[in-house]
């Protein structure tokens, strides 16, 4: 039963990238400060859960030494993935491609000239990169739910909050290259499917060994993954979209929501 929920949550979390791409096209001028707030919120929620819930639980089951090893192992693994597949493959804005498609929201353009990349490869690279990043997130939602369903819901909400902007950041470059709104939508939508795929992988490989100790180790591991994602990916992205005050307000509100909801659990 819980496994069904776990898979469902990671599916919903993943598919919210589609919402991001819808926002990118149908709203002419998305308020970037909203994105910035929601990314901050998501970082706050993830950081708080990881340190205040996942890691302590793991420590109480496995002892401090082992739990911390898993925690840093999680960071190491996601760091390695990050090194191999850099985060956001957004093409440098070239002169000739400028205004290739009409109706690109102007305010999003500064986001576009971040990472250099060749336009030709971009479609596949974006998808590949995002899939790699979504896999561990799917696993986070999955194992969080196995640990506690309420916790799983909260993690899912956190993931939705940062997948929406992520969906925007995937679909924009694809739109930029292909001028094809549908294609851009499908790319970002498909990349979101990697999330439940991650959950399924976690399920297949871990279910045979699913004991209290394994879940505890998983929690510490994904605690590390969440901290890494928040500090290395989500927060810097949030700052790129908006003002520092908005980001930190998002972070604090995220932590506040988590602390209240954990207190009443």
């Amino acid at each position: 039963m819980e496994i069904g929920f776990a898979l469902l949550f990671s599916l919903i979390g993943g598919l919210s990238t589609g919402i991001g791409s819808i926002i990118a096209y149908f709203i002419q001028k998305p308020k970037l400060s909203y994105l910035s707030f929601s990314l901050g919120l998501s970082a706050g929620v993830m950081t708080y859960i990881a340190f205040m819930e996942l890691l302590p639980h793991s420590v109480s089951v496995l002892g401090e030494g082992l739990a911390i090893i898993w925690f840093f192992f999680g960071m190491l693994v996601v760091g390695f993935l990050d090194y191999l597949f850099p985060d956001i493959f957004i093409p440098r804005k070239n002169g000739n491609s400028e205004n290739a498609c009409e109706g690109n929201p102007k305010e999003i353009e500064p986001v576009l000239d971040r990472t250099g990349g060749k336009l030709a490869k971009i479609g596949t690279m974006v998808t590949l990169g995002l899939i790699i990043h979504q896999l561990p997130e799917g696993m986070i939602a999955f194992s969080g739910t196995l640990f506690d369903v309420n916790m799983g819901i909260l993690i899912m909400v956190a993931i939705i909050f940062h997948n929406v902007p992520e969906g925007i950041s995937v679909s924009l470059p694809v739109l930029f290259v292909t001028c094809n709104k549908k294609k851009a939508f499908w790319y970002s939508f498909l990349s979101g499917l990697a999330e439940p795929a991650g959950a399924v992988i976690a399920f297949v490989f871990l279910f045979p060994f699913l004991s209290g100790n394994v879940i505890a180790a998983l929690l510490a591991f994904f605690g590390g993954v969440m901290i890494y994602l928040s500090l290395d990916t989500i927060l810097p992205t949030a700052r790129r979209y908006g003002h520092g005050h908005i980001v930190i307000i998002g972070v604090v509100v995220g932590m506040l929501i988590m602390s209240i909801s954990l207190a009443f659990q």
Partner: protein, 282 residues
């Protein structure tokens, strides 16, 4: 006894603003990568310690409710300070000031430093030139005052962590020490441009660091009569909130501005790792 050590440690961590001022003049081309790494490192240390040691110790003593309220109160206080007194006042660009007859002297300051806190945007857009030295000096002064106010709660942080545990206090002292270096730079550069007086620039950035032990001193005077273990536990939660806020809102973004993201996160993870190992050995 511990109280004096705690004061001394907040003094040391505050005075590193002076080191920032020294770096700005002595080293011609500082390797920004090192700064970026060490800022990441100190953010890692502070985040880990706040959550894993301070907040959890506080919860262990006082239960969940009060520490969490104090934790968010710490964030709120810093947020209000941040909102009322923004930290960054560097209105000036190196090129501009050279054009206005500051040649020679101005070149001693690595130009890059001017853009440090404002990031690339600053260098690209070239903020409206402020040509009067008086204005520039005022800028430096306002920065110094702003920093002094920011340093106040930091002094409290080192102080109360040391009261709780000296070893932990030393670690926090080092983290805040690192974080004050770029702050010292951002005070001294505009003052130097306005006055061409190295000593004066150094003096102001040095003085802004004094707010740190002052914060500690005031904490001590106010709390010493009631210094019970519950009181310290409450302080720890408050301080944890302050440190999380500083790390996420100030230190990490600054680190990202100075270097690339990989170096920052390596620093952060290493900082957490060092803390995890040393907390286990403590």
């Amino acid at each position: 006894m511990n109280v004096w050590i705690a004061l001394l440690m907040s003094l040391i961590s505050g005075l590193s603003t002076g080191i920032g001022a020294l770096i700005a003049y002595i080293i011609k081309k500082p390797k920004l990568v090192y700064l970026s790494f060490s800022l990441g490192f100190s953010a890692g240390v502070m985040v880990y310690v706040s959550f894993f040691e301070l907040l959890s110790s506080s919860i262990a003593i006082l239960g969940k409710g009060i520490p969490l309220v104090l934790f968010f109160l710490g964030m709120l206080i810093l947020g209000i300070i941040d909102y009322c007194i923004p930290e960054v006042f560097i209105p000036h660009n190196g090129n501009k000031s050279n054009n206005h007859g500051h040649e020679g002297k101005g070149e001693n300051i690595p130009r890059k430093i001017l853009g440090w806190r404002e990031g690339h945007k600053f260098q690209q857009h070239e903020a409206a030139p402020v040509t009067e030295n008086g204005k520039l000096f005022k800028t430096g002064l306002i920065t110094a005052i702003g920093l002094a106010i920011h340093n106040f709660p930091e002094g409290m942080t080192t102080f109360s962590t040391t009261l709780f545990n000296i070893n932990l206090g030393i670690v926090i002292m080092i983290a805040i020490f690192i974080h004050n270096i770029p702050e010292g730079i951002s005070v001294s550069v505009p003052i130097f441009y306005a006055t061409h007086d190295r000593k004066k620039a150094f003096k102001y950035s040095f003085l802004s660091g004094f707010a740190e032990p002052l914060g500690a001193l005031i904490t001590m005077l106010m709390l010493l009569p009631f210094l019970t273990s519950e009181m310290i536990a409450g302080l720890l939660a408050l301080v944890a909130g302050i440190m999380i806020y500083i790390s996420l809102d100030d230190i990490l973004p600054t680190a990202h501005r100075y270097g690339n993201g990989h170096i920052v996160i390596i620093g952060t993870i290493l900082g957490m790792f060092v803390m995890a190992v040393s907390l286990m050995l403590l």
